[in-house]
Amino acid sequence: MTDLDRLFREFNQPLVRYLTRRLGDRDWAEEVAQETFLRAARQGEIVSERSWLFAVATNLVRDEAKKDARRRRHLELLAQEAKAAEPVTPQLLTIERAEEAASARRALDALGERDREALLMREEGLNYTEIAAALSLSAGSVGTTLARARRRLVEAYEAQQRALKDRGNHAAS
């Protein structure tokens, strides 16, 4: 088994999950993950594989996000137009599940980029040293970063839930 095979088998799943959570798009996440593994193959020896992979993937997302922001906005507009023209189809997700996911996404988007990435990396099992290496932080500040990220995430999520509830009450009355 080559190093690339091993890296892929070992880290593809957590990396794709991290990227999917980060981007909200599985296909895009898989593309970025593949690009990350290709870069790893070109890189040669890597000391801390997991933190290296997550760091490169994170940087690719940042770069690509900048490049694609304009194109994506345009595509979103096109998609919205197309959706408006479509006949009404049954909901794929239950209302509350969809709302839950949307609230989680908005809450995550409310975080600063570094907080968001640290939190998602931690959820994938990276330890503080690996997170620090991937995000160019000092190891001592990872705890503070995660504490802030978790608090803000929960507060933002709860604010979303309250707003939804208020809207529901308002609509009911």
């Binding site: 999950r17 509350e96 989680a104 099992g125 504490a147 507060e155």
Partner: protein
């Protein structure tokens, strides 16, 4: 010692402090009420944020493993087709079951209910989990009986499970049961409507065995304390939860009666390679605390950075089902299943396989 800062507390909870510093933090947290409260709050934040992040995995079908060309993407899971029932079939089966229950009830043939904690009615299209009879009669943990009606048989062997052919429940709970079945089988309910593609988790092998999946019905949601993670408030109040809906495979129509937890053979301390929903990486499965946890299940406890068994995870519990230790939460259903074959330990979460090892720990 100076009060603990939030970053240190989170590092300690995450097991990232060196042992000497961890023991200092621990002793201070025990002696200082203010810092102890901060630790408790931080635990809530850790659990709540994990849940919120896990909610990001709810993606539309097109983004969850099916490419635009219809080819399953890498890692996409296929729902078992073998047991698939059409919506019409499911509705007919539920209606027949309801009719049978009504007939039996009015003919006075229904026997007294067994001691049960949950009766749930599950249908494929609605992925419902309707707890019909909750905590009807507390039983000793040694009473290990579980019965399941499974028109679509479970793909794995099921211990403590016995098939039945009616969705009607028994005795004093019959009226409630019928009402709940009517609610559960009503296809027009927008809340109850679920796409076949919805359960990324339910479609996973581990959840397609009769106890997995997501509770969907209003009653189940109420029992589970709502679908969403409720963060800080939940962290502070989750201990008040009294029941937990048993989730459903999307392909099953069944009745489940669980009368008590079983299987202390899995009791011990474990370490998982990565987080899985709300479960921390290190946790303890206790078997000396039956019924203190969720819905009569055994307790799941935290392990602190020094290896001591710590507080109870208020919304999680575990029990042994089909030779596996199944850890569940009220909101997410089954979050991890541990299987032991000889000395080998395997584990699977709805998010994928996990590497679990048994670890040493000490009593609190």
């Amino acid at each position: 010692m100076q009060h603990l800062d939030e970053g240190t507390i989170h590092a300690w909870i995450d097991g990232e402090l060196p042992p000497d510093e961890a023991s200092r933090v621990e002793s201070h947290a025990k002696s200082c009420a203010a810092c102890g409260a901060m630790v408790a709050e931080a635990r809530g934040l850790v659990a709540a944020s994990s849940r919120i992040v896990a909610a990001l995995d709810i993606l539309p079908q097109a983004q969850r493993g099916v490419t635009p060309h219809g080819v399953p993407a890498f890692g996409a899971r296929k729902a078992p087709r073998r047991w698939a029932m059409s919506r019409v079939t499911t509705t007919i089966a539920a209606t027949l079951g309801l009719a049978a229950g009504v007939v039996l009830f009015f003919r006075g043939k229904i026997e007294e209910p067994p001691r049960s904690i949950h009766t749930v009615v599950l249908t494929r299209d609605t992925t419902l989990a309707v707890p019909l009879a909750k905590a009807a009669s507390p039983t000793a943990p040694t009473t290990q009986t579980a019965r399941t009606t499974s028109i679509a048989a479970s793909p794995r062997p099921v211990d403590h499970v016995e098939s039945r052919k009616s969705v009607a429940t028994r005795g004093n709970q019959t009226r409630d049961a019928i009402a709940a079945v009517v609610t559960a089988s009503a296809p027009a309910s927008p809340i109850a409507q679920v796409s076949p593609a919805m359960p990324a988790r339910s479609a996973a092998p581990m959840t397609a065995m009769g106890v997995g999946g997501q509770p969907r019905a209003p009653a189940a949601m109420a029992a589970a304390g709502g679908a969403a993670a409720s963060g800080l408030a939940e962290a502070k109040t989750a201990a008040s939860r009294k029941s937990m809906a048993i989730g459903a495979s999307p392909t099953q129509l069944m009745e489940v009666v669980v009368t008590g937890p079983s299987g202390p053979s899995y009791a011990g301390c474990y370490e998982v390679d990565q987080s899985t929903d709300v479960l921390p990486r290190r946790f303890a499965l206790r078997a000396d605390s039956a019924r203190a946890g969720v819905a009569g299940m055994y307790e799941v406890r935290y392990i602190d950075s020094t290896g001591a068994i710590d507080g109870r995870m208020v919304d999680a519990g575990w029990m042994e089902i089909s030779g596996r230790a199944v850890i569940r939460t009220a909101r997410s259903g089954e979050i991890l299943a541990i299987t032991r074959t000889g000395s080998a330990i395997g584990a699977e979460s709805p998010l994928g396989p996990r590497t679990v090892r048994q670890t040493s720990c000490r009593a609190p």
